[in-house]
């Protein structure tokens, strides 16, 4: 009997987050209601500890735990991204939870555990492990979506997400079962080897790959599997919506790339054409329907569908540049979108009373700072030069053109132009309409300011000086393709 090498260093960030999550749960009964936000700061400390733990993790490059856990710059990049997303979400949530009277510290623990789930998805080399990570992430997110327990919309959101999410998990699992039947393994590298060595059963492998693709496309909300997203995003508590629109999406694409790059390179021409269609459909549907949304949460939901479409363009490109563009874009989009949702959280007031676009009328004359910040995020989402969104889109379309997907790039550029309308409409509302109200009850508090500072800095830094992160994403892409 061979006991595997237990290398705690290789999973140190996940251990850190789990420990802090458990510590928060244990400490909860001993903390009075007034001091609940301390536990929020404890969660922040957890993310910092996990961030520091990336350093020892990066020294453990290689495969661990009988080849089912992989440490390379690809997985480290995603670990970094997930921790960042968790930290910003916690900062955005602290005052929100107090304001809504749902300051239960289970929220922080669930958020940290969901992040651990995402890490497992990005770091594993094994479909069973991927599935476990997927379920940890999904179940934690179902609960977070329904966290406003007395609110009907929140209940609807959790219920819809739960039903459709379980359904899509079943698709994924069926695909895993079939690939195990065809190749006798769930390890991605073993699958790839057995596909290369002949022994075709190509139709069975294609069916398995298609089923896994369906399951993951549900999770990242690309057309035609996007229908759940707007309702779920609208009903969930606003910081959770922000988290859902970036976290599971980034994790889903991380897994998607890992599975298809590592295990199915032999089927590449097939899934490239599938992604072509998915990307084109998603960009068109997301952007066109976003045009007519009066509710800013729904508008951002469709916008997040559209952005998944842009990422799918880079996935279709498939090359080293494509993978690097996916990584860069998920980072740029996450930072920008979390910032936008932080502002929306602040402005929506209690029980999401003011989430319509015309509630933003005249914000600039009353609260010029907030209006400027939200404008920056909208411009970045639209992809105006100098912002993170532009750099991200530029790399994606460049990768698409280099891989010969000219028409896909053309569709991408056209839909981007369409998207300017609804992003700029928010700015028009804020700057060119008369205010309906005083915005006196909008409070910017410490944690929120910190979240905004991080996201503003990230948006501008990635937009103006993208090279440092680009070097990182390129090396990660080279790593993932090897």
């Amino acid at each position: 009997m061979n006991i595997p090498v237990v290398n705690l260093g290789a999973i140190l960030p996940a251990i850190m987050l789990s420990l802090f999550g458990i510590a928060i749960m244990v400490a909860e009964p001993f903390v009075s209601d007034a001091k609940k936000s301390w536990l929020g700061w404890l969660a922040i400390a957890g993310t910092i500890a996990a961030m520091l733990a990336l350093a020892p993790m990066s020294r453990q490059a290689g495969q661990w735990y009988t080849n089912l856990w992989i440490v390379d710059s690809y997985s480290i990049f995603f670990h970094f991204l997930f921790i960042l997303i968790a930290a910003i979400t916690i900062l955005t949530s602290m005052n929100f939870l107090q304001r809504e009277g749902i300051h239960h510290t289970e929220y922080y623990a669930l958020l940290l555990f969901a992040t651990v789930g995402m890490m497992m998805m990005a770091g594993s080399n094994e479909l069973i492990m991927v599935f476990l990570g997927l379920e940890i992430l999904s179940i934690a997110t179902y609960v977070l979506a329904g966290f406003r327990r007395t609110d009907l919309k929140s209940n609807e959101s959790a219920m819809k997400y739960f039903l459709l999410g379980s359904f899509s998990s079943a698709f994924f699992l069926y695909g895993v079962a079939l690939i195990f039947g065809a190749t006798g393994s769930t390890n991605l590298i073993v699958i790839a080897d057995s596909l290369r060595s002949g022994d075709p059963q190509t139709s069975l492998v294609s069916l398995a790959a298609a089923l896994m693709l369906i399951g993951l496309c549900f999770k990242v909300a690309v057309a035609p599997f996007h229908v759940w997203a707007p309702d779920v995003y609208e009903g969930a508590p606003t910081p959770v919506t922000g988290f859902m629109s970036v976290g599971p999406k980034a994790a889903g694409f991380a897994v998607l790339l890992r599975i298809f790059m590592t295990a199915f390179p032999t089927l590449e021409d097939r899934w490239t054409s599938v992604f072509w269609i998915v990307a084109a459909l998603t960009m068109l549907i997301g952007n066109v329907i976003a045009l007519v949304q009066p509710n800013i949460k729904r508008m951002l939901a469709y916008s997040s569908i559209a952005h998944a479409g842009y990422i799918a363009v880079a996935v279709a490109a498939g090359s080293e540049h494509g993978v690097s563009a996916v990584l860069f874009y998920t980072l740029a989009y996450s930072v920008t979108n979390l910032g936008a949702f932080a502002v929306v959280t602040m402005l929506s007031r209690s029980e999401d009373k003011l989430v319509n676009l015309n509630d933003y009328a005249g914000l600039a004359s009353k609260r010029p700072g907030l209006a400027a910040v939200l404008s920056l995020f909208m411009l970045s989402l639209a992809g105006v030069p100098g912002t993170a969104g532009f750099a991200g889109k530029f790399f994606i379309f460049k990768a698409a053109v280099q891989s010969g997907l000219i028409w896909l790039a053309v569709i991408g550029v056209i839909t981007t132009v369409v998207s300017f309308y609804y992003y700029l409409y928010v700015i028009v509302q804020m700057y060119m309409r008369d205010p309906n109200e005083e915005f006196a009850d909008v409070r910017t508090t410490g944690p929120l300011k910190l979240a905004l500072a991080i996201t503003i800095a990230g948006t501008l830094y990635l937009g103006i000086l993208p090279t440092r992160f680009l070097d990182w994403t390129v090396s990660a892409a080279v790593n993932a393709l090897r």
């Binding site: 009997m1 669930l110 555990f113 789930g117 476990l132 940890i136 179940i139 609960v143 329904g146």
Partner: protein, 163 residues
């Protein structure tokens, strides 16, 4: 003999699965689900996955279904009210698409090169499963504990009266 048993359990499973869907009353659906799960465990025994078969009966047909039936009885749901009128037309889209998917799957599986039935090399005994859980699959085994913890927390968050 094995073939006869296989077709018996398989037919029972498929029949029970269809019955779960078409029954109007939830309780009958739940009871058919028990039949489905038990016949699945019969299939597991034919595959010599003894441990899985026992677990299937104890956990699913036993514990979970009892919980199900209790919940149904406690809630005392009214008969099916046909509430989803608004989405009725989706049936005409969903059923053909579902059948198309079934067709694709069946065609693919039918065309898989069939091999002769071989006697399972290893029986799925608790010992072997335990051994692989603590060696090759150590990390997923530990990760499962996190999954269960989250499910537990989720239930508390949703169900507890005042958190």
């Amino acid at each position: 003999m094995i073939e006869i048993l296989f077709f018996f359990f398989a037919a029972l499973a498929v029949g029970a699965a269809i019955n779960v869907l078409v029954q109007k009353h939830v309780l009958y659906s739940a009871l058919s689900l028990i039949v489905l799960l038990s016949s699945m465990s019969g299939l597991f025994i034919l595959l010599r996955a003894d441990f899985l078969a026992v677990i299937q009966v104890i956990v699913y047909a036993g514990a979970i279904m009892v919980l199900f039936v209790f919940v149904i009885m406690l809630l005392n749901l009214p008969e099916d009210e046909d509430g989803a009128d608004r989405l009725r037309w989706l049936k005409f889209l969903g059923i053909p698409l579902g059948l198309f998917f079934l067709f694709l799957t069946v065609i693919t599986l039918w065309n898989v090169e069939r091999q002769d039935i071989v006697e399972a090399q290893m029986a799925g005994t608790p010992e072997l499963i335990g051994r692989s859980l603590f060696t090759d699959y150590l990390l997923p085994f530990e990760a499962t504990s996190l999954l269960i913890l989250i499910a537990l927390m989720g239930a508390v968050v949703f169900a507890k009266k005042d958190l």
